[in-house]
């Protein structure tokens, strides 16, 4: 456990955000784009939970723990709200992609574009 640097969760979150931005910009399949947005959400959620951690802290379920510091509970509430919102966003995006596929018969973002200029 001592070999892992303390900011390893933050590096993992940065890696997730970087890979997801690459996917959103460069991939053409609409489903892959939705997966990229889901990964971006996961990266931001991991960042939020990781910033609240205090080494050796107690879990924030009890009312008053006097011996040790407590892990910050507010980022966990923020992450929970963010997860709920992202579920709604992903459901909406998937439904719209099903409709686009019905109309144009292709999931390629270059072929199903109709509006230019």
């Amino acid at each position: 456990m001592e070999h892992i640097p303390f900011n390893f969760p933050f590096l993992a979150a940065a890696l997730l955000v970087g890979i997801s931005l690459y996917i959103i910009i460069f991939k053409k399949n609409l489903i892959k784009l939705i997966m990229g947005v889901a990964m971006l959400a996961s990266g931001v959620n991991l960042f939020l939970v990781a910033l609240g951690y205090r080494a050796g802290g107690a879990s924030p379920i009890y009312t008053n723990v006097l011996e040790r510091p407590m892990v910050l509970p507010v980022p966990q509430a923020l992450t929970l709200t963010s997860i709920v919102i992202n579920v709604a966003v992903l459901a909406l995006m998937l439904t719209i992609v099903i409709r686009i596929y019905r109309h144009t018969g292709s999931l390629d973002s270059e072929k199903s574009r109709k509006m230019k200029g």
Binding site: Y62, T63, N64, V65, L80, V87, T95
Partner: protein, 153 residues
């Protein structure tokens, strides 16, 4: 429609999933969980039903009108509970001190007292109801839609 083994096992498992989901919703103020998480667990049971059975059979049990009314009821109960404390401020926890869910939680590590929290467990139940109805409608609509039919009003 999958094989008979899958259908039988699904039928056997659904009550356990429902009980587990309701446990998570009801104990939201004590253990990790709450309205959305328990509702999502129950909807995963509905997804298991959709995978094992045909969406026509599931549609006969979970009618679209019932889901709409359940969803609106959950949201209206939440907003009514929020308005009920308007004498002090919106969202005021008016049930602290009263016999319904009104006890003060003990300090330090403890197994937890269920009748604490005030208006929060009731809001958890309302949110759980709304999440079950809403996410089930979403999953059901996607299943009907992917198989080629049109979703009516």
């Amino acid at each position: 429609m999958l094989s008979k083994i899958v259908r039988t096992v699904t039928n056997e498992f659904m009550p356990f999933i429902l009980v587990f989901g309701f446990y998570i919703i009801a104990h939201g103020h004590l253990t990790p969980g709450g309205g959305f998480q328990g509702g999502a667990v129950i909807v995963s049971g509905v997804v298991m039903l959709l995978v094992a059975f045909n969406h026509q059979e599931v549609k006969q049990v979970l009618r679209e009108r019932t889901l709409s009314i359940m969803e609106s009821t959950g949201a209206l109960i939440f907003i009514a509970l929020a308005f009920a404390g308007i004498g002090a401020a919106f969202f005021y926890n008016f049930l602290v001190g009263t016999p319904i869910f009104g006890r003060i939680p003990p300090t330090g590590p403890n197994p937890g007292d269920f009748w604490t929290g005030g208006v929060i467990p009731l809001m958890n139940l309302a949110v759980g109801l709304k999440v079950i109805a809403g996410l089930s409608a979403v999953v059901l609509a996607m299943a009907i839609f992917s198989s080629g039919e049109e979703v009516e009003e």
